[in-house]
């Protein structure tokens, strides 16, 4: 049996961590594989812990409570011509900023700008002893003390309960353009990805729908767009299909929110490099797992259908020495595959959570 506690203030989170044997934080619940409590675990629901605490347009930074929805933050930024460049998924479904950090989830635009880890500046969280801890700061450059904000990225509520986050943002581009390029085989597509890795042309996103469909996104001044698209085609040595402007944003929103994944699937994010894609493809093709590669082949999204246990994928990823995390659907253990960290991870976990208040990593 699992109880849920709706936290209204940081002190309540502190008390909850102290009072309960096992706790798991939950934000918007858009990544249920990370926020579904096992038996005997108390959920600390942070969805009432909301609000932008500080946002100075000219500073290009903000601080918000962990339960603040990504939508609210994005709206506030958009009013000032700014945006979250790491492009977090599930904003429309109610993702919170704390959940985005805990999941370490970024979207297709991370190809150019970087992921959550590259934009987080500071964090306030409750550790396993119920203490309120601050790390990092609110300024864009900071090398003081251990980098606790980065540690929280991807921590999935297993190292602390985040209460407040500070991040930097970028000015939003005024125009976008997308080109689709269809290549006959996976090898051809990977060859193009490899070539694009070293060309002097700024690509915001580069996604691969296997075997051979590439999606390329540009951003910037609308007047310069046609010239840059032409230059892109020359670099590709083949023409592409320009996506009509009115479909462009919707198309990427669908990609970001993994709309292609079958209903109820457990979607797994896998870290890799393009060089590893062929061997993964060889394993996945026969077992019919829907998938898409993002960020120039630096991450794979694998959709494990509801009827298949994620354990199967876990074993497969282990055999390939790849690490993944299950975001949607359900999973006994969301961290699948071969994870790094070893003794360092165990020691850090023991320092922040000596009594095992949080779930195991």
């Amino acid at each position: 049996v699992s109880a849920t506690l709706q936290a209204q203030a940081g002190e309540e989170v502190q008390r909850a961590v102290r009072a309960h044997e096992r706790v798991l934080p939950r934000g918007g619940g858009t990544k249920p594989a990370l926020s579904s409590p096992p038996q005997g675990t108390t959920t600390i629901d942070l969805s009432d812990l909301t609000g932008i605490v500080e946002y100075e347009r000219e500073e290009l930074t903000f601080t918000a409570r962990a339960g603040t929805s990504v939508r609210e933050i994005s709206d506030a930024l958009a009013e000032n011509g700014q945006f979250l460049p790491f492009d977090p998924p599930f904003a429309q479904a109610g993702a919170t900023i704390g959940g985005v950090v805990a999941a370490g989830a970024s979207g297709p635009l991370r190809y150019r700008s970087g992921g959550v880890r590259d934009f987080i500046l500071g964090v306030r969280f409750v550790d396993g002893k119920g203490r309120l801890v601050s790390g990092g700061g609110r300024v864009v450059k900071n090398a003081a003390g251990f980098d606790l904000p980065k540690l929280m990225v991807g921590s999935a509520g297993r190292l602390g309960v985040m209460l407040e986050l500070s991040m930097k943002v970028f000015p939003a581009p005024t125009a976008w353009a997308t080109m689709r390029v269809d290549l006959p085989t996976l090898d051809d597509a990977l060859e193009v990805i490899g070539r694009l890795a070293t060309v002097p042309l700024d690509l915001e996103a580069l996604d691969l729908e296997p075997p051979g469909r590439l999606w390329l996104r540009l951003a910037g001044d609308s007047e310069a767009m046609s010239a840059r698209l032409e230059r892109l085609e020359r670099l590709l040595e083949r023409p592409g299909e320009r996506v009509p402007d009115e479909e462009e944003a919707t198309l990427w929103e669908a990609a970001r929110d993994l709309a292609w994944a079958p209903e109820g699937a457990s979607v797994v994010k896998v870290a890799l490099v393009p060089r590893r894609i062929p061997e993964l493809e060889r394993e996945l093709e026969p077992i019919r797992i829907a998938r898409r590669y993002s960020s120039g082949g630096n991450l794979a999204w694998l959709a494990c259908p509801r009827e298949r246990p994620t354990e199967e994928l876990d074993a497969l990823l282990r055999s390939l020495d790849l690490a993944g995390v299950v975001l949607t659907g359900s999973a006994a253990n969301p961290l699948v595959g071969a994870h790094r960290g070893g003794a360092f991870a165990r020691r850090v976990k023991s320092a922040l959570d000596p009594d095992g208040k949080f779930l195991e990593i």
Binding site: E56, E58, E59, L60, G104, S106, R110, R117, D118, R131, V133, G135, V139, V140, K141, N142, A143, A144, G145, F146, D147, L148, K150, L151, M152, V153, G154, S155, F170, P171, I193, G194, A197, T198, V199, P200, L201, D202, G220, D221, A224, R231, K269, A271, L272, V273, R275, S295, L299, A323, L335, H339, R340, A343, F344, A345, R347, V348, A351, I361
Partner: protein
């Protein structure tokens, strides 16, 4: 540990000619770029392989001997200062580039590889390594990782931490673990992110995977002269607020310009009170119109002169002048303290005015040369170490500037790290619990406390900064950054004896 026992343990790992124990041999390792602190190690070992480093750490752990890893010794915060009674593990011979894979945009290096060598190796593939500390021609990647080094181009590309994808590290007890990987997108808790910038307290990186970025299609640079430092600061804030995303925004004041002209002669606009350098990068189709907007904005902000370096040579001179600023200041003053506190960039004008006020009030010259785009100050506090009390007066001023950074909502260090230098200010920036938790993390990773101990945290029996404010309180936080020569007599001090 008896000396013989330590030396025989080291002799099992190294040939005699790679174990330094005689005083003259050790002298070069007594200090780093923060020359006001000195400590003599018992021995220095010159490691040539990763296995040797692991074996050395294991021997140190077995014998309870503290160790300090050292790359090129360019730390400005005293990060590679030896621990009295401990050993130094010199990593500069571990300087192999192990693998360069342009298609994945990665390069795997050993810790002793020089920062600029990475970019050199990547250049034929139209790629480069983004973090560019001013010492990039001599500093090592291992040191960059340990202290999360910055540089002028962090504004767009981030700090060292944003460019490190993976590392194989040896923990302080000799256990070897892998953190991160090759992908730009990590999964699971960002253990690597915590390791980077841990100032050597968590162990030594043996093998480091770096992210490379493609060279931009076009780079446009402009120098703008202003009538006051404050005006330049405000212009910088306007550039940031305007929605342009420059790759670098730098400011130098009159003293710093004078110093640069006295040494590398970059040919900056004459008679400027302050100089703003802004660089844009990107596709030429986008950058060209953005550059026009930038020029207009700089003029609107009151620029008295706007100059564009035209040839590649002029461009590199411009950056050479900026990057050699610290060493050039030696041309103005025998000694100086350099700080690297950060303020919110919208409060730059205010911060600079306050530094000017303090400088005038104390009668101490301060040169300013800094990363304006991210609010990262670099006041160079000039003094003569041979003058009675001059160092202490300079340190007081440095301390006040750090307190100002905290007050304005910034940080005490943007890129040099806490090291020895700013240990007593850490509790002023963070709360008691925050520091306690950081200490607990340190103790959990290094229960024996042998890896670069005495950096980042004051020994627990020492007073924090607020209590140590009385004159003559030791140890001092600020230090004299080195000019080219040996440290000024009287300015150098021994590290406090360790109590553990």
């Amino acid at each position: 540990v008896p000396r013989d026992e330590l030396l025989s343990a080291l002799a099992e790992i190294y040939p005699q000619d790679r174990i330094l124990t005689r005083r003259p041999e050790l002298a070069a390792y007594e200090s780093d770029a923060l020359t006001s602190f000195r400590a003599t190690p018992r021995a220095v070992v010159l490691a040539e392989s990763r296995d040797e480093v692991v074996e050395t750490v294991r021997a140190c752990h077995r014998l309870g001997v503290p160790f300090v890893a050292r790359g090129s010794g360019t730390s400005l915060s005293g990060g590679s200062l030896p621990v009295e009674g401990g050993i130094v593990i010199a990593l500069n011979r571990l300087n192999r580039i192990l693998r360069l894979d342009p298609q994945q945009r990665i390069v795997v290096v050993e810790p002793g590889v020089i920062n600029q060598q990475v970019t050199k190796a990547a250049a034929p593939h139209n790629l480069f390594y983004a973090p560019d500390p001013s010492s990039q021609s001599i500093c090592s990647i291992g040191g960059n990782l340990a202290f999360n080094a910055g540089g002028a181009h962090c504004l767009k590309h981030g700090m060292t931490s944003n460019s490190i994808l993976g590392a194989k590290v040896v923990l302080p007890d000799g256990e070897v673990v892998e953190l991160g990987g090759e992908s730009t997108e990590p999964v699971g808790p960002d253990w690597l992110g915590l390791f980077v910038g841990s100032e050597g307290l968590f162990g030594i990186a043996l093998e480091i995977t770096l992210r490379l970025v493609p060279n931009a299609d076009a780079t446009r640079t402009v120098l703008a002269a202003y009538e006051s430092l404050e005006a330049a600061g405000k212009a910088a804030a306007r550039v940031v607020a305007a929605g342009l995303l420059p790759v670098a925004i730098e400011i130098m004041d009159k003293l710093a310009i004078e110093a640069a002209e006295g040494s590398v002669k970059p040919g900056y606009p004459e008679g400027a009170e302050a100089l703003l350098i802004v660089e844009l990068e990107g596709d030429h189709e986008t950058v060209d119109p953005e550059f026009e907007t930038l020029l207009e904005l700089l003029r609107d902000a009151g620029a008295t002169d706007v100059v564009q370096p035209e040839t590649a040579e002029e461009h590199s001179k411009c950056w050479e002048g900026r990057k050699s600023a610290f060493s050039s200041v030696g041309w103005l003053s025998p000694d100086y303290i350099v700080q690297d506190g950060v303020v919110p960039r919208t409060r730059l004008g205010e911060a600079l005015a306050e530094i000017g006020r303090l400088s005038e009030e104390r009668g101490i010259r301060v040169a300013n040369v800094f990363h304006a785009g991210d609010g990262n100050l670099h006041p160079l506090i000039l003094f003569k170490g041979s003058e009675e009390g001059a160092l202490e007066r300079a340190e007081d001023l440095a301390g006040e500037i750090l307190q100002m950074c905290i007050r304005l909502g910034g940080s005490i260090t943007g890129e040099h790290g806490i090291g020895m230098e700013k240990r007593k200010y850490l509790p002023d920036m963070f709360g008691e619990t925050d520091v306690e938790v950081m200490r607990e993390l340190w103790h959990a990773v290094d229960p024996a406390r042998i890896a670069n101990r005495s950096k980042m945290f004051l020994p627990e029996d020492e007073p924090s900064r607020s209590e140590a404010a009385e004159p003559d309180a030791e140890p001092s936080a600020a230090g004299v950054a080195g000019t080219a020569g040996p440290p000024t007599d009287g300015a150098a001090r021994e590290e406090e004896p360790s109590t553990r």
